[in-house]
């Protein structure tokens, strides 16, 4: 299967916001070299919601981290619009993340000593064009819990705060690494709804990583990874409403 020839959905513009070519990532552990990514070619288009599917250890997180500027490719090219991320320095990558990227992680990673509102504010304070923290929390249906500390929230609620934190700065891309990984299916669906809502409302390009096949249906596109390579890319004719999903 040749992924480079893939024609993205017509709904999205032809100019990709991310363009990955021949991306590899190797980790050196002692004398061993682990090939986490073995040559990835992929474009992401503005506004689309892509689901990355793959078994544990297939390289999903590595790919997402490289896209988000948390990590650098060993070789190849990763372009965000005209900005080459591969080989960029730490300061440039920090700046890139600050301006364009929102992250959601499996374990929410909220700051326990800050309230929900403050967890959002800590990001909006350094952003150029943020929305008010309250508005971000309202978008994930948590307006009423703004003054609660993470320890006072359930897992699903914490993850929605994390989503609010990620979108409040109105990033160009939202990168979610196993956002439902630590949640039961009912709560997970709530979180996915929040993500879909944001994608629709703000048009944020969204990448969701999961090892859960059921989630694939909610994406515009599904990218499958195995052993550091893209094994398949498929379009969904119609995105499924997260509420119809079950696992």
């Amino acid at each position: 299967m040749n992924s480079t020839n893939h024609d993205p959905g017509a709904a999205f513009g032809n100019d990709p916001i991310f363009r990955m070519r021949g991306v590899t990532r190797e980790y050196r552990v002692g004398d061993n070299v682990i090939h986490a990514l073995r040559g990835i070619d992929l474009d992401l288009h503005s506004g689309e919601l892509v689901v990355f599917l793959g078994a544990s250890g297939s390289g999903k997180s590595t790919l997402l981290n490289i896209l988000g500027g948390l990590d650098s490719a060993t070789s190849g090219s990763v372009r965000y619009h005209d900005l080459e991320l591969c080989g960029a320095g730490d300061a440039a990558l920090t700046d890139f993340r600050r301006r364009h990227v929102g992250f959601v992680f499996q374990f929410y990673n909220l700051i326990p000593s800050l309230t929900a509102r403050e967890n959002v504010a800590i990001v909006t304070e350094i952003a150029t064009n943020p929305m008010p923290p309250e508005q971000a929390l309202a978008m994930v249906d948590l307006g009423a819990r703004a003054d609660h500390f993470p320890a006072q929230l359930s897992g699903g609620e914490q993850q929605r705060v994390a989503i609010a934190r990620a979108i409040a700065k109105q990033p160009a891309v939202l990168l979610c690494d196993e956002p439902t990984g630590a949640l039961d299916s009912l709560t997970g669906i709530k979180v996915l709804k929040a993500l879909e809502h944001v994608n629709e409302k703000l048009g944020t390009t969204t990448a969701i990583i999961t090892h859960n096949e059921a989630i694939a249906a909610m994406g515009d596109r599904v990218v499958r990874l195995s052993d550091g390579r893209i094994s398949d890319v498929s379009d969904n004719a119609k995105r499924a409403n997260p509420e119809t999903l079950s696992w």
Binding site: T94, N109, S113, L114, E118, E125
Partner: protein, 787 residues
């Protein structure tokens, strides 16, 4: 407020118990730093101001008698800016209501009023005028000791003549900042006074009309002091000059300089211990914090916070704790320093003690504290700075445990599981265990060091008055006298035994090194007053030659068997050579010792003696004093017990206050280290402990896992701390060694016991506090949190 700052404050709040413990230790370090530096500064300023404004002389000389016309050639010596010839003599005073005689040094004040040099500062009253009644200004310390005021009178005997002295003023002189009888160990303001009389009055009283017997000079800036002294000596030689000397050999000045040097040498020792401990505590707290917050740091960086911002964030936390300690530390230091300054005022008499905590002192305190805190935490801060977010998001690998080496020991193999956990944990984190032990040991060491001063003074008093000087009464003659005077003393009622002594002011010269000192000579069969070596054994004086104190031998670089040139600075001013027969280690003073007959022979002075030591019958003393006071040739007589009592009275209270403060500070250090160690262990191992609880272990059993470790660390630390403390005492002793005394590192068993007790109490308090937390350990909460 920015959310990041809010996080910082809340982190600090969560750490509050530890932060306060650390802040207290920092406060101790800052306080001792501020105390030392500002005390030094205040003494220096006060000294400089007093010397400048009241024109403290540069060169001093005394002589037998010279006509006033001799002042002309002295004024002509190149380099001399001002010269003053004056009269100085000793007197015996009787203060009503006080049985014992008081020795006084009387100095003339020129008729123009205030002298050019060594001018008097008057606290009260006015300068003495000539007239029918003899007016005097008395020294402030003496006035305070006897509650004397202007208008009061004292009876004086000057050169054998009884004179009624009317006090017209109370004052201070730059010559008597430290007012001590030459050769005494401690000042005794009750029995030693400085007084000033109008020149005319003193001329009459001392039979010195138209003459002087003492010269002081002020030099031009950049003048060659040694050359001036040489010229002055040659002028005064024929008038019985005893050798001019500079400020370095001036009693008051040299004591004051000595004291300041000691303060400077010690200024950094104690603060450094405190700050070292604080740095260590900050190290473990911040290290753990950065590790615990790995994922928080990662998320902040993922969202675009820069490395610098994160580094600053944690640095800010460290600096906040520093501030939390430094501010009260500076306040406490200022307050205690003020207290110490007023104690110094008891010994060093300045018109005003300029005490203030200057910006330089505060800046240096803030500087060293910050430096210590950053030195302790830079690795943790660097880790936070460097942390790679992608890396940090990956879960940390679990700590690797293995069966420990100690577990091979049969003793450990028989232990139950919880005890085995203690051993394993200690072995897994050896560095932390070693640091904790060091911290606790340092606390014990500070405690030992704090008690050292008291112990040492006790010891020196014991040695000096218990073994060495066992006489009840010391009698000093106005000038060397024949042996017949001894028989007269012996025949006074109440005298059981009398022993002669001779003290000669000399300059000892060896090669190009020389030192002004004294040779003391005692009878071969002396029993009352003996010289002791460092083992407190009486030294038997050699039949020929001179024994030297080790300090002096070092100074002169001379060994037994070598010969010294001895220049006598009084009487016939003979220069001779004497062989060094041996060297003695002594704690107090620095002089040469000889047998009386040998010294007399070497100096060709028949059977001269300077005074006598008396053993007396207690109930006859009063009468004896009366008899002694009227003897023209008796200059002073001092009673031993009273000297000790007066010293312990002045010093005792102050030392008690300071040792209490020291104990509190050291207690804080001990508590800070022990509590922090335990608190950290608790938070690091809460999950483990909770798991044990879930498995059915009782609270007491899991408490043992944590507290047992604490007990073990403390038990190892205590003996180590006592040993380090003894080392510190040695160090301080070395720093304090001077011509006046070399402090032996004496620590009583009591003090070791006390240090141990304080550390154990600190341990128990920490255990109690931690025990309460263990009892309240919320199992569900602990197991729910991800670590």
């Amino acid at each position: 407020m920015r959310a990041l700052n809010r996080k910082l404050l809340r982190d600090l709040w969560n750490l509050r118990a530890q932060a306060i413990a650390i802040a207290l230790v920092i406060a101790g370090g800052v306080a001792t730093w501020v105390i030392s530096l500002s005390t030094i500064e205040s003494l220096q300023t006060s000294q400089r101001m007093f010397y400048q404004n009241y024109r403290f002389a540069d060169v001093f000389a005394s002589l037998e008698r010279a006509p006033r016309s001799t002042m002309a050639p002295i004024e002509q010596i190149p380099g001399v800016r001002a010269a003053e010839g004056r009269i100085r003599t000793s007197a015996t005073l009787t203060v009503s209501g006080f049985d014992e005689p008081v020795e006084a040094l009387v100095t003339s004040v020129p008729e123009s009023g205030r002298g050019e040099l060594n001018r008097l500062y008057l606290n009260a009253g006015r300068l003495p005028q000539p007239g029918s009644d003899v007016q005097v200004v008395i020294s402030e310390a003496f006035a305070e000791a006897h509650d004397l005021a202007t208008g009061d009178t004292v009876a004086g005997i000057i050169r054998g003549r009884a004179t009624r002295l009317v006090i017209t003023g109370i004052g201070l002189s730059p010559e008597f900042v430290y007012q001590i009888r030459p050769g005494s160990l401690f000042p005794d303001h009750t029995r030693y006074a400085a007084i000033w009389m109008h020149r005319q009055s003193l001329e009459q009283a001392a039979g010195m009309e138209g003459a002087f017997n003492d010269v002081v000079l002020q030099l031009e800036r950049g003048a060659n002091g040694a050359a001036v002294i040489e010229r002055l000596d040659s002028i005064l030689e024929r008038y019985g000059g005893t050798g001019a000397f500079g400020r370095d050999d001036h009693t008051s000045h040299s004591y004051l300089s000595e004291e300041m040097e000691q303060l400077e040498a010690m200024a950094w020792i104690v603060p450094l211990i405190f700050l070292g401990v604080a740095a260590f505590l900050l190290n473990i707290v911040v290290h753990r914090m950065v590790r615990m917050q790995r994922d928080q740091i990662a998320i902040l960086k993922a969202f675009g916070y820069r490395n610098g911002a994160i580094g600053l964030h944690f640095t800010g936390l460290v600096l906040l704790i520093v501030l939390l300690g430094a501010l009260p530390g500076i306040a406490l230091g200022g307050w205690l320093g003020h207290g110490l300054a007023s104690i110094y005022r008891e010994f060093f008499r300045f018109p005003e003690l300029y005490f203030h905590v200057g910006p330089a002192v505060i800046a240096s305190a803030a500087g060293v504290t910050t430096a210590a805190a950053l030195a302790g935490t830079w690795r943790a801060l660097w880790q936070a700075f460097r942390l790679m977010p992608a890396e940090a998001m990956r879960p940390e690998q679990p700590g690797r445990f293995h069966r420990s080496l100690a577990e091979r020991l049969p003793l450990v193999r028989r232990m139950d599981q919880p005890s085995r956990m203690i051993v394993r944990n200690l072995e897994r984190q050896p560095v932390k265990a070693v640091l904790a032990i060091t911290g606790i040991a340092l606390a014990a060491a500070i405690l030992v060091t704090g008690r050292f001063q008291q112990d040492t003074i006790d010891f020196m008093l014991d040695v000096q008055f218990g073994f060495a000087a066992r006489e009840d009464l010391t009698v000093t003659f106005t000038e060397p006298t024949g042996r017949r005077a001894l028989h007269e003393l012996q025949s006074l009622s109440g005298v059981i035994r009398s022993e002669p002594y001779r003290a000669v002011a000399v300059e000892l010269v060896h090669g190009h090194r020389s030192h002004k000192s004294a040779i003391q000579a005692f009878a071969a069969d002396a029993m009352l007053h003996r010289t002791l070596d460092a083992d407190l054994d009486p030294i038997s004086l050699p039949a020929s030659g001179l024994l030297l104190t080790d300090w002096l031998a070092n100074r002169l670089n001379v060994k037994p068997g070598q010969r010294l040139e001895v220049r006598v600075l009084e009487g016939n001013r003979r220069t001779t050579e004497i062989q060094v027969a041996g060297i003695v280690r002594e704690f107090v003073g620095a002089s040469g010792y000889m047998r009386l007959d040998t010294l007399n022979r070497v100096l060709f002075e028949a059977d001269s003696i300077s005074g006598a030591f008396l053993m007396t019958e207690t109930d006859q003393r009063r009468i004896l004093f009366e008899q002694l006071k009227t003897r023209p040739r008796v200059a002073t007589s001092s009673l031993r017990e009273n000297a000790i009592a007066s010293f312990t009275r002045t010093m005792g209270e102050n030392i008690r206050i300071f040792s209490l403060i020291n104990t509190l500070l050291a207690g804080v250090v001990a508590f800070g280290v022990i509590y922090n160690t335990a608190r950290l262990a608790l938070s690091e191992r809460a999950r483990e402990l909770a798991s044990l609880r879930v498995l059915g272990f009782r609270k007491g059993e899991i408490a043992w896992v944590l507290l047992g470790e604490l007990v073990l660390l403390t038990l190892v630390a205590i003996p180590l701390g006592l040993w380090i403390g003894h080392g510190f005492c040695n160090l301080i002793g070395h720093a304090m060694a001077s011509e006046f005394y070399r402090v032996p590192a004496i620590v009583h068993g009591d003090s070791y016991a006390f240090a141990t007790l304080v550390v154990v109490v600190a341990m128990l308090i920490s255990m109690l506090a931690i025990g309460r937390r263990i009892a309240r350990l919320d199992l569900v909460e602990v197991l729910k949190t991800r670590e």
